[in-house]
Assembly symmetry: C2
Homo-oligomer: 424 residues x 2
């Protein structure tokens, strides 16, 4: 007997037939004798409909947000998960499974007061655990909680992953299964490289990099939370037949286990290749090389909510100036240039250059901590294909390379191959 948290996203509960299918997945685990909590998202499209209504409203003039009152946004948008939790409970009951829905305020899932992007502060798991003891499945509305003002809060888009992991931590679950529209985490995007392989296991740290670098399988926050609380998390498909062989396997169900690196016996040097398109490169030439100049550049960008990445600084030949290069999402280029031009007098630079249509390709692997030459292999392979490297940043377990966007797919396939990820 184990205690399992199962999370189903919007596409997995998009209509009544799929909700019924989800109920079959849940029943399988219940029938195997496990204690089960289920976390659900809103039916696919519903959150967008609700957000669309909020955004379609005339903008507030006296409200506490430039766009709308985030507390009202939360009350409106959280209704999507409320509906799914009820529908799934009814579906489970129709199969003879004892189940009930729980809204965030009922458990409660306490959050901070940052309406619209709240962080979970505390979950009292005692009610849920008591109900497990009575054989009842908890069907929990994801994405929502109760703020200190006694009003509904939401965790921001994709927050249901975070809800699931946090609940798994609170009830000390043996496993947190994230059911989604893919059957696991792959060595790279299979739409680019058909030889991409599903990983059996990936470490929290690697998954964090993958999620940060564009893999949409899991939200970054949920991986962070899983890492901190060491919640063993499976990414698996909700679209497989719930009763297919192995689906009820306790230790290794089909999918990818995200876990502590100690659990990964045979570590590969490189685990996966991630990429992010639509990056833009901005360069400031001949910036005065004095203390505080970086703060003078990146402070105002941060205030303007522009997400800066891949910062590279080179000293100029004469040693008096520096060149500062960094990337931002393409959509933020105009805003970033505007901010930088405004600060030109303070910062002091000669030329402001930018290039759009860049891509960032990243090589990720815990094994590279103990292996030399991993970066050199990447540079050589890309060079052989005639791909020009525009910038490089590295961390302990990651090498990110900025290239012309037209070469994205070629670069991904090249790196996937050079590290042997297409073989097993």
């Amino acid at each position: 007997m184990a205690r399992i948290v199962m999370k189903f996203g919007g596409t997995s509960v998009a209509d009544l037939a799929r909700i019924h299918n989800v109920a079959r997945h849940v029943k399988r685990e219940v029938d195997a004798g496990h204690e089960v909590a289920v976390v659900v998202s809103a039916m696919s499209g519903k959150t967008n409909e609700l957000v669309g209504w909020v955004q379609g409203m005339p903008k507030a003039t006296g409200a506490n947000s430039p766009f709308f009152d985030a507390r009202e946004y939360d009350a409106i948008v959280a209704s999507g998960e409320q509906v799914t939790s009820g529908l799934l409970s009814i579906a489970l009951q129709s199969m003879g499974v004892n189940a009930r829905s729980w809204q965030g305020w009922q458990i409660p899932i306490r959050t901070d007061g940052a309406h619209g992007a709240a962080r979970i502060a505390e979950i009292d798991g005692s009610f849920l655990i008591k109900r497990f003891g009575e054989g009842q499945v908890a069907v929990i509305a994801g994405f929502q909680g109760l703020a200190p003002d006694n009003r509904i809060s939401t965790l921001g888009r994709g927050g249901s992953d975070t809800s699931a992991v946090a609940i798994a931590a609170a009830v000390k679950a043996d496993r947190c299964d994230i059911y989604t529209d893919v059957d696991g985490v792959y060595t790279t995007d299979p739409r680019i490289e058909p030889k991409a392989r599903r990983l059996d296991r990936i470490s929290f740290e690697e998954m964090l990099e993958m999620a940060s670098l564009g893999s949409k399988v899991l939200q970054v926050r949920s991986v962070e939370l899983a890492m901190v609380h060491k919640v063993r998390t499976f990414v698996r498909s909700s679209f497989e037949d719930p009763d297919a062989p192995g689906m009820g396997d306790l230790l290794n169900p089909p999918g990818t286990l995200i876990c502590d690196e100690d659990e990964i016996v045979e570590q590969e040097v490189v685990t996966g290749i991630a990429y992010a398109k639509d990056e833009a490169q901005i360069s400031l030439r001949r910036v005065a090389d004095r203390p505080g100049v970086a703060a003078g550049i990146f402070g105002p960008l941060a205030e303007a909510n522009i997400n800066v990445d891949m910062i590279v600084q080179n000293i100029s030949e004469d040693g008096k100036f520096t060149d500062m290069t960094f990337t931002v999402p393409s959509g933020d280029v105009a805003k970033a240039l505007n901010v930088l031009e405004k600060g030109k007098a303070t910062v002091g630079f000669d030329v402001l250059q930018h290039d759009e249509g860049m891509s960032k390709v990243s090589v990720i692997g815990i094994g590279m901590r103990s292996h030399a030459g991993v970066a050199a292999t990447a540079f050589r392979a890309l060079s052989e294909k005639g791909i020009n490297i525009r910038a490089i940043t590295t961390s302990e377990i990651k090498i990110s390379i900025l290239i012309d966007g037209a070469y994205t797919e070629l670069a991904v396939r090249t790196l996937h191959s050079v590290y042997g990820l297409d073989k097993h």
Copy 2:
């Protein structure tokens, strides 16, 4: 300065433009210096969508209801009002009106545990009154409350009217304005009699009869509640220009005031003509006339949830038998006949007859308590038009007449005219 509860139904908040229009109605009262609570329904069509999902689910086998778990039904369906309350709050804020949404569980509106058809047990008005003092408009999700099990309850269809009246009673409001898609209560259905007049005032008792007898303007329960708590209730249109002359009138806004009969100075003998189509008449001939026979007939019908109306009993010529005639909604005829046939041996009757396609036309007026001959006038008028009367029931303030459905419109117009309702 007055304290006003304003209620807007589903068609009044059907889309963002209409919600914006509702906000203008609210702002008008706020600008006039009044303290305002608003009660909203779900956007038109949303409740049906949610109920459709619940009903589309496979039927429960082990649930506590033959159809679905009413607690889950409530969690699902209450989400519709939750959304509207948030959207209207945002619309009000955009006009500079200090407003916030309240869910049933936040106030709380405590109900009994009859999920799906709960009755309001207690409303703590103190929070709302405190916010009034701070100049804040309360935008309250109608139709919902908090059951003793700490879960969401709903009041049954049309429950938002009841929410509004109950809140008006709890905060001791001066007025409860029910905004709807008609501009008041009419002497009869204007689609049948174009000369129907809007009533300025109608007593609680009369409105209760009107609502029970087919007028869809207000829910019966809300009228009962208004009567018990003497909540002065205006029925008025949400589709009129919020800034049209007189709309902000404190004492007599355009619409119909439902009030204590003491407030109605010039009482008419007859106030209105109501009707209900699709009635069926069932007669049991030659029933043994002994004690308990009525219970033997109507007990099983009540148990089968069949709504019996207009019971008429005649003694037969020889005094040993009785004829029992009553009406049921046409949709329940087959079920009723089945129940009666089953009980034939116990009850003992000779013949079971039924006629469908009947209509019940009712003459309503408090004045008839002190006026003789009101019924005779109706019978004569119908007779002159060649309309055959199948059954009659009367109460202190109402005469109901069962006729062939084909004559419904003619009967309504005839009665409307004979009591002078088309003149003023």
